[in-house]
């Protein structure tokens, strides 16, 4: 990125370059304005229109999911006298065969799905970062043990493993989140380990060690912050894959279970009605796509903004 980080200083009107007597700094013709890494990243991110737009839409969806149920006239459990009516002014998304208002159901489903997806991303990111940092920093036996365990989880289709695990529990949303988050952690762990393996050989880590910094301090102050960019991008993409994983699990019958609901439960219940009462199937599906799409765009924008090697100018 060839950003203009230099700004022309006030014209020095033919004066020779002199030292400022007060500060002792050299007065130059061009002064460089300092920008922290955060500021640079923000500038680059804000220039990425699609990502900024996605962030706004995503935040609106979150607001919609968490505030909406309090404002809407029906609860998701309310059974209205209208059975299976198509979308109308009274029921914008129609109703199901029991008379549940689909708009209220979608609001609740969206809320539960966002909660699950954000928790998955949080659990997987924190767990995976710890896993990868410890594994990469200590190397040797610890690394071997942790990575073989990661291999073990990665060789099994995670949907199968999640279903087998969730089969043991009732389907509350936080159990689903812990299971799916835990199963996504090895992926994050592997990526972080790769980063840590190269960072730990850098001079500044060596310097910190020479100065007597403890292992914990090196990990928290040097390794994790330097792997941060990759972790953040991964976490964003995990939100998108998390929301999809939840729907898949619910479809197989091992996810969130009725009477509670999620977008996955809603499309599973609506799949039989796709030709007769399409609103039951399409509306929840559209919201899943909307959430996943905005989060994916957001992750893409973050990746571009955080990648220091990014040299291509985006149009």
């Amino acid at each position: 990125m060839t950003e203009p980080t230099t700004k022309a200083a006030a014209p020095s009107a033919g004066k020779p370059v002199a030292t400022d007597p007060a500060t002792g700094r050299v007065e130059r013709e061009f002064t460089v304005k300092d920008r922290s890494q955060f500021q640079q990243t923000m500038r680059r991110f804000l220039r990425h229109k699609l990502a900024v737009g996605s962030l706004i839409v995503f935040l609106l969806l979150v607001l919609f999911a968490f505030v909406g149920p309090h404002l809407w006239k029906y609860q998701y459990t309310t059974i209205t006298p209208d059975n299976s009516v198509p979308p109308s002014m009274k029921h914008p998304f129609g109703t199901d065969n029991l008379g549940h208002d689909m708009f209220a159901q979608v609001l609740r489903g969206l809320q539960q799905s966002i909660k699950v997806a954000l928790s998955i991303a949080l659990i997987a990111t924190v767990g995976g970062t710890l896993w990868g940092t410890i594994s990469g920093y200590y190397k040797g036996f610890v690394d071997n043990a942790l990575m073989r365990f990661a291999d073990l989880i990665l060789t099994i289709p995670s949907l199968a493993l999640a279903a087998a695990l969730a089969n043991n529990f009732s389907g509350s949303w936080w159990i689903i989140a812990i299971i799916l988050g835990g199963l996504a952690a090895p992926y994050v762990g592997r990526v972080v380990r790769g980063m840590v393996l190269s960072i730990r050989e850098r001079e500044y880590v060596e310097a910190a060690r020479a100065l007597g910094a403890s292992d914990i301090r090196i990990m928290l102050r040097h390794l994790v912050p330097n792997a941060f960019a990759v972790v953040v991008v991964n976490a964003t993409l995990l939100v998108a894959s998390g929301i999809l994983a939840e729907t898949s699990l619910s479809f197989l019958g091992f996810g969130v279970r009725p009477p509670d609901t999620s977008l996955g439960v809603l499309i599973t219940l609506g799949q039989g009605a796709v030709n007769t009462r399409p609103w039951l199937f399409y509306f929840p599906g559209l919201f899943i796509i909307l959430v996943a799409l905005t989060v994916n765009f957001l992750g893409d924008g973050l990746r571009d903004a955080l990648d220091p090697q990014q040299t291509r100018q985006r149009r």
């Binding site: 060789t155 995670s158 199968a160 043991n168 898949s248």
Partner: protein
């Protein structure tokens, strides 16, 4: 290369064993497989339950159960007794695996071909209309639940069939129950017809990530010095693109494809459930419903082997794509 292969296979044995132990414990914790028999009305005589417990080895301790299963598998190639008395786990897995593998194989093939073509084109013509279209569809399929798309496509198939009053798209099952044209060719076309919609679903699910990946790694290679040199030498642009750029861009794609196979098997479970195929997906759901530890372990052993095999193939392909990585 042979020594490398053998070493890799040997390393994967403990991983496989570990995963079966993990799953064994998980299924054991999930409950009693004989619950449905015990709850029968009128209750079955205690001898029946005793016999069933003995048949499934439930009267032994867990470690002993696992050991017996392992012994039977290694010595006799026997996957153990299934909860459904009529099932033989080995032959069940065999027939179901064939159904699933042809779906996965063709999906991967189609997805890779499409992903490489569109990925390369959108990298070469960056920011063109084609690039934006590919990117949009890539993101769209990346953000769509596999089974939602499967149900959607199935319903379109049914709708189309009703409109033309002909059975153009098969939407249920992996083959017809009764076949009018009972010849080899008839069987092949019948199976192929049933595969069309599920393959599109699973193929597009894989395509989404891979086309993004191909584009990114192509862009990286196209900006590198050796491609600039190849151009400066005056090589024809097609040759530069295929021999110098694509070949290098394929190396990371190989890794990603192999890593995604596990996820694709998960997608196959969903696709098969929607289209009511008798594949590994159905077998998996059955093992969970029956709380059948032996069936589950057999299922897992086979799918984990497939994942490991694909990873091995990917590693061997590195050597073909990149002469610097030769496995001694």
């Amino acid at each position: 290369m042979l020594a490398y292969t053998i070493r890799r296979v040997l390393i994967s044995v403990p991983v496989l064993l570990g995963s079966t132990i993990l799953v064994f414990i998980m299924v054991k914790l999930s409950g009693d497989p004989l619950e449905s028999i015990k709850l029968r009305n009128p209750p079955p005589p205690p001898q029946t339950i005793k016999l069933e417990e003995h048949r499934l080895g439930l009267d032994q301790s867990w470690p002993l159960q696992y050991w017996n299963w392992l012994k039977g598998l290694v010595l006799h190639g026997n996957f153990g007794a299934a909860v459904q008395p009529s099932d033989n786990i080995g032959s069940e897995i065999g027939s179901h695996l064939w159904v699933t593998m042809r779906l996965v194989f063709f999906s991967v093939l189609i997805a890779l071909i499409l992903a490489i073509i569109t990925g390369v084109l959108s990298a070469v013509k960056q920011y063109s209309a084609l690039d934006y279209t590919t990117t949009f569809f890539g993101f769209l399929f990346l953000s769509m639940p596999v089974f939602w798309f499967a149900v959607l496509l199935k319903s379109w198939g049914i709708w189309y069939n009703q409109n033309v009053s002909a059975n153009t798209f098969y939407t249920i099952g992996d083959k017809s129950v009764v076949l009018e044209n009972d010849t080899t060719w008839g069987h092949i076309t019948d199976v192929a017809g049933h595969m069309v919609l599920p393959t599109i679903v699973l193929g597009l699910a894989g395509y989404a990530g891979w086309t993004r990946f191909t584009r990114a790694s192509m862009l990286e290679v196209l900006n590198s010095d050796h491609v600039r040199l190849a151009r400066a030498k005056g090589l024809r642009s097609r040759k530069v693109l295929v021999r110098h750029a694509l070949r290098n861009a394929l190396i990371p794609l190989t890794t990603v494809t192999a890593l995604d196979i596990a996820a694709l098997l998960g997608g196959a479970i969903l696709t098969e459930t929607v289209f009511q195929w008798q594949g590994m997906g159905a077998l998996f759901v059955q093992s969970l419903r029956d709380k059948d530890a032996h069936l589950m372990m057999g299922w897992l052993l086979v799918s984990a082997t497939i994942v490991i095999l694909f990873n091995l193939i990917a590693d061997l392909l590195y050597g073909v794509l990149d002469p610097r990585i030769r496995h001694a």
